[in-house]
């Protein structure tokens, strides 16, 4: 027998498939991972602490930078928490615009996930197809609020800008196009033998694991647990739309892939319904005082971001600034399961499993 030794390999913070600045210190035996230690915090900016010195409107652009792939949901959660605490009425038009942009953002985020996940598995081409479609969403957002990534679109009490003329038609056309396009993706990717071999039965999350690690989003739904805040704790106007929550069965990578693919279709269906039911008149901002003084109290709201349950907990002492604000950042919670999933796998699976969890380091590090 040859004497073999374990080797410590430092993956990241600069590594092509770490999706940001995650660092993993792995101990490998050949290519099999024996121990793994994730190191986070390279992108920590102290958003929660900074927010204590900012008034509520000023916090919104900071949330853009948390999960920079779905800034719309981040905007929404902080506005929604503040509105709940203040008991504000939101105009219907603003709610519809919010739902449209949040669902489109979900598709943009999932498209990016799809591209990078397949890049992790070694397929180069889908990445560019995904970016082509994501680009359309971003340019529509650009038209709406002047930014492609950090939108700063929502305000406490409504949204900043009304949809420009013809924008809603574009959105509707895009939704039709995208539903069809996802079918094309299925034809190109879903049946590929190598792709199936790389994903079927790999990185299985059990129901118990999902619950004990407090997973959310596609990471819990792939195990078959029906948990979607849009259905379970309806916020905004989600209760008016007819959509399904795609569930997996086994909790492996393939199920997660199918969950996210189907979620995109469902999101586009919501967008279509929202555009059809879009209220003609009305304001985009509710009646909001010039200086937002939030009454003393505490509130927690959770919304379904593309990555899972995005929560915002605000403690107010009656000032124009929060006394304490805390975000429940889904990527951070979902990442914790990685340690249990990765031990015993090889390097190739590590990259695929990590990619499937779908983390955004801006959100993990806060």
């Amino acid at each position: 027998m040859l004497r073999t030794e374990e080797m410590v390999l430092n993956l990241g913070p600069q590594h092509p498939s770490m999706h940001g600045v995650l660092r993993l210190v792995v101990k490998i035996d050949g290519e099999i991972i024996r121990e793994i230690e994730p190191v986070v915090g390279y992108l920590h900016r102290g958003t929660e602490k900074l927010a204590e010195d900012l008034n509520y409107t000023q916090i919104i652009p900071y949330t853009d930078r948390l999960d920079y792939l779905s800034s719309m949901t981040n905007n929404y959660v902080v506005c929604h928490a503040t509105e709940t605490l203040m008991g504000l009425e939101i105009p219907e038009k603003a709610e519809y615009l919010r739902v449209i942009v949040m669902e489109m953002n979900r598709v943009a985020s999932h498209l990016l996930w799809l591209g990078t996940f397949l890049l992790d598995v070694g397929a180069l081409t889908p990445f560019l197809y995904c970016f082509r479609d994501r680009e359309q969403i971003l340019s529509m957002f650009n038209e709406l609020c002047g930014a492609r990534l950090t939108y700063n679109y929502m305000r406490v009490g409504g949204v900043k800008w009304d949809a420009p003329a013809g924008w809603l038609d574009k959105v509707k056309n895009f939704a039709d196009y995208m539903i069809n396009e996802i079918q094309n993706y299925h034809e190109l990717i879903s049946g590929n033998e190598i792709f199936l071999q790389r994903t079927k039965g790999i990185g299985v999350i059990t129901k118990e694991m999902a619950l004990s690690y407090s997973l959310s989003g596609a990471n819990i739904r792939c195990t078959g647990i029906d948990w979607d805040l849009r259905k379970k704790q309806p916020y905004s106007v989600y209760d008016r739309f007819d959509f399904k929550v795609p569930l997996g069965k086994t909790g492996d990578l393939l199920d997660k892939y199918h969950c996210r693919m189907d979620e995109m279709v469902e999101a586009m269906k919501i967008v279509k319904q929202a555009v059809e039911g879009f209220p003609e008149g009305g304001a985009t901002m509710g009646k909001v005082p010039r200086v937002l003084r939030v009454p003393e109290g505490e509130v927690y709201v959770g919304v379904e971001s593309p990555r899972g349950e995005l929560g915002c907990h605000i403690v107010s002492k009656g000032k124009d600034k929060p006394w304490r604000i805390k975000f429940r950042r889904p990527s951070f919670y979902n990442l914790q399961v990685a340690k249990e999933l990765l031990v015993g796998q090889n390097i190739a699976n590590l990259v695929a499993i990590l990619g499937s969890i779908d983390i955004v380091l801006g959100e993990v590090d806060g």
């Binding site: 290519e31 070694g122 190598i194 190739a348």
Partner: protein, 327 residues
Amino acid sequence: MDWYIFVYPVILLAIVLVFVMYAIYFERKVIGWIQLRKGPTETGPKGLFQSAADVFKLLIKEDIIPSKADRPLFKLAPILAYVPAFSVLAVIPFTDAPYLKFSNVAVGLMYYLALSSITVMGVLLGGWASNNKYSLLGGMRAGAQMISYEIPLVLSVVGVVMSAGSLNLTEIVETQIAGAWNVFPQFLGFVVFIIAAIAELNRTPFDLPEAESELVAGYHTEYTGFRFAFFMLAEYTYVFAMASLITILFFGGWDAPFGLTFIPPLVWFILKFCCFVFLLFWLRATFPRLRGDQLMEFAWKGLLPLAIINIFVSALLKEVPFLSQYF
């Protein structure tokens, strides 16, 4: 001894270098086309000078050797990878014209397969000598992969050799001109050969040794400048060599199909050759990557039995009265 045996290798080297440059250009254009991009367009007309500019950049770059690297081995590795890649071209008959045959070796096929397996030493050494963990992993993967796939590769051509009764590549082509292209009677052998060949070339879906998303750049992570260029050159020279070999072994070399003999044999060779090169680039754009253990399983449990079955069936059919002319 004629003077041209000294001149022709130089000409061949020049052809190979130009091929490498334009193969990279072609690859980028093909993949760009598949990926909704344009590929290189800026340098020169339609980006034709892009590869030349890239090579030039690599040559003038600083040559960095990591301080903890094993210097002699680190320098030796790219040479060890490239020299066999170029040497194997010596036995490839591009046409039937005598002036384009560099050496007509009686065991040409054996020479090719034997020399080409030296490259793995260079790759392994490069990975080891770099003193980088990613390089080491890449080198080990390359070693395991290339050695495993060598075996089905060699076994899959046994059928071809049996039908020609010779290891001489020229004779193999001449047998096909007289009979049928080997791709038809030796179809199973062809399938095994092409899969094993792609794995030998370390190209998608078998590009594990340089899997970017896992190992950064695999065994050549620490290489810069012209040493890196040598590794790349070896890779593309093998594409050139392997495409030639497949054309010769399975597609009748310079043989003109359908009696279209007015097209010169060399052009036929290039046409067939280009189809295979295109296939390689096409696969790269459309396939994900296999995992290491699946790769090994596929070689030993999938390809190896198939190659052996192919030998058995070929030998059997050689004895059948009517069919024996094709085997």
